[in-house]
């Protein structure tokens, strides 16, 4: 009679340990999933932008078997990247489409989330003039404009409030056919990123 009772007691005694393993496993899993975008060595932010000086536009070669770029990159897409850190000031981004080659811009956080994307077909004249700011910078800009009694902003300016201060902008210019590297090079040279003075 005592053996089954001992076994039952041992089983009951294991329950707290099993619960501790389950709780610890769930916590480890959730924390590691949340931490992965910042830690993954292969993430687009790490590979393309993490070491890029602020204000510099990096022109990436098109994807080839030897230089594949981000995984599943389109071989007809010519990418350019610039990094932002809004703690140092808003980022002004400008680009012009030539009307023939599709151009799009996306604003991405360091964790990979795309906070905004748009293409030249959706912007006036295919002209991108984007100001990326934090919420407090946006409020400061509005307050400054109110003080100066200015109601109008830069005519075609699109102001984006980024939920986090660090990330990168990705320009995507498409070649229509093979062998257009030189044709798109001039257009890519016009891409601009500049950190502006923080509003007071």
């Amino acid at each position: 009679m005592s053996a089954p009772s001992d076994r039952f007691d041992r089983m009951v005694g294991l329950i707290p340990w099993a619960l501790a393993v389950a709780f610890g496993a769930v916590a480890t899993h959730l924390l590691s999933v949340l931490a992965l975008p910042a830690l993954a060595p292969n993430s687009a932010y790490r590979r393309l932008a993490a070491d890029l000086p602020l204000g510099e536009v990096r022109l990436l070669p098109r994807a080839t078997p030897d230089h594949p770029g981000p995984t599943f990159s389109d071989p007809f897409a010519f990418l350019a990247v610039c990094r932002f850190d809004l703690t140092l000031g808003p980022l002004r981004l400008r680009a012009n489409a030539d009307g023939d080659h599709p151009l799009s811009v996306s604003v991405r956080l360091a964790n990979g989330a795309i906070v905004w994307s748009g293409s030249d077909g959706q912007t006036p004249g295919g002209h991108f003039n984007i100001l990326i700011v934090t919420r407090s910078q946006a409020d400061a800009i509005d307050a400054a404009r109110e003080d100066q009694d200015e109601t109008a902003t830069d005519g075609d300016e699109l102001r984006l409030v980024a939920p986090r201060p660090k990330g990168f902008a990705l320009f995507r210019l498409l070649a229509l056919r093979e062998g257009e590297a030189e044709t798109v090079a001039a257009q890519r040279a016009g891409f601009e990123c500049a950190t502006e003075k923080p509003p007071q």
């Binding site: 340990w17 501790a20 393993v21 389950a22 709780f23 610890g24 496993a25 769930v26 916590a27 480890t28 899993h29 924390l31 590691s32 999933v33 949340l34 992965l36 975008p37 993954a40 292969n42 993430s43 687009a44 932010y45 590979r47 393309l48 994807a63 080839t64 078997p65 594949p68 981000p70 995984t71 599943f72 990159s73 389109d74 071989p75 007809f76 897409a77 990418l79 599709p102 799009s104 996306s106 991405r108 964790n111 990979g112 989330a113 795309i114 906070v115 905004w116 994307s117 748009g118 293409s119 077909g121 959706q122 990705l170 995507r172 498409l174 070649a175 229509l176 056919r177 093979e178």
Partner: protein, 189 residues
């Protein structure tokens, strides 16, 4: 002390294993499937969930933004057989609702396919079409007349179709009316 160490190691091991499993394979939980083509539209927006974000970071993907276009991958033909570069494929369809679309072949790991022709894709701008706008693309290792998508020596491959500035939105039910090219396997060597 020893049970505590065992519990800690077991929790870490199980938790990390669950993370590895959940971030491997397909990058999203809510794929849109149209024939052999699959898309994960939520990867291109701000509403991407933490698992998808982790998976995208691990894979090193820079997804197309929602307003840039639509992106689809195919790992099998229309009958569900995995794509095999020892076989020839016909990819046939009618014009797609986009300003420009591209079709490219990749290794399983997402690198453009290496092949003697030195190119791994086609665009809608450079395509030969029938009068009504229909097109047929031959994907094969050996050169073909007309629209030829060269395949490499690696056995398995993946096709990626991208519709830039598509007139259908990734977030609308317009996906339902979208007709993507059929992938039909021909002869195999």
């Amino acid at each position: 002390m020893r049970p505590l160490l065992a519990v800690t190691l077991a929790a870490l091991g199980l938790g990390l294993a669950a993370t590895a499993v959940s971030t491997s394979g397909d990058p999203g939980f809510a794929p849109v499937r149209l024939g052999p083509w699959t898309s994960w539209p939520q990867l291109g927006g701000a509403e991407i969930d933490p698992y998808e974000r982790a998976s995208v970071a691990m894979d090193g993907v820079a997804p197309i933004g929602l307003n840039e276009g639509l992106s689809f991958l195919a790992r099998a033909d229309d009958l569900g057989a995995p794509l095999d570069s020892r076989c020839d494929y016909q990819i046939a369809g009618s014009d797609l609702p986009a300003r420009l679309w591209t079709l490219a072949a990749y290794s399983e790991g997402g690198r453009p396919l290496d092949n003697p022709a030195g190119r791994s894709g086609l665009t809608s701008a450079g395509l030969l079409r029938a009068e009504g706008g229909d097109f047929v693309i031959d994907a094969a290792r050996e050169a073909r007349p007309g629209n030829w998508l060269p395949l490499g020596s690696a056995r398995s491959f993946v096709l990626a179709l991208r519709l830039y500035q598509a007139s259908t939105s990734a977030l609308s039910s317009a996906y339902d009316g979208l007709s993507l090219p059929k992938i039909t396997r021909g002869s195999c060597s």
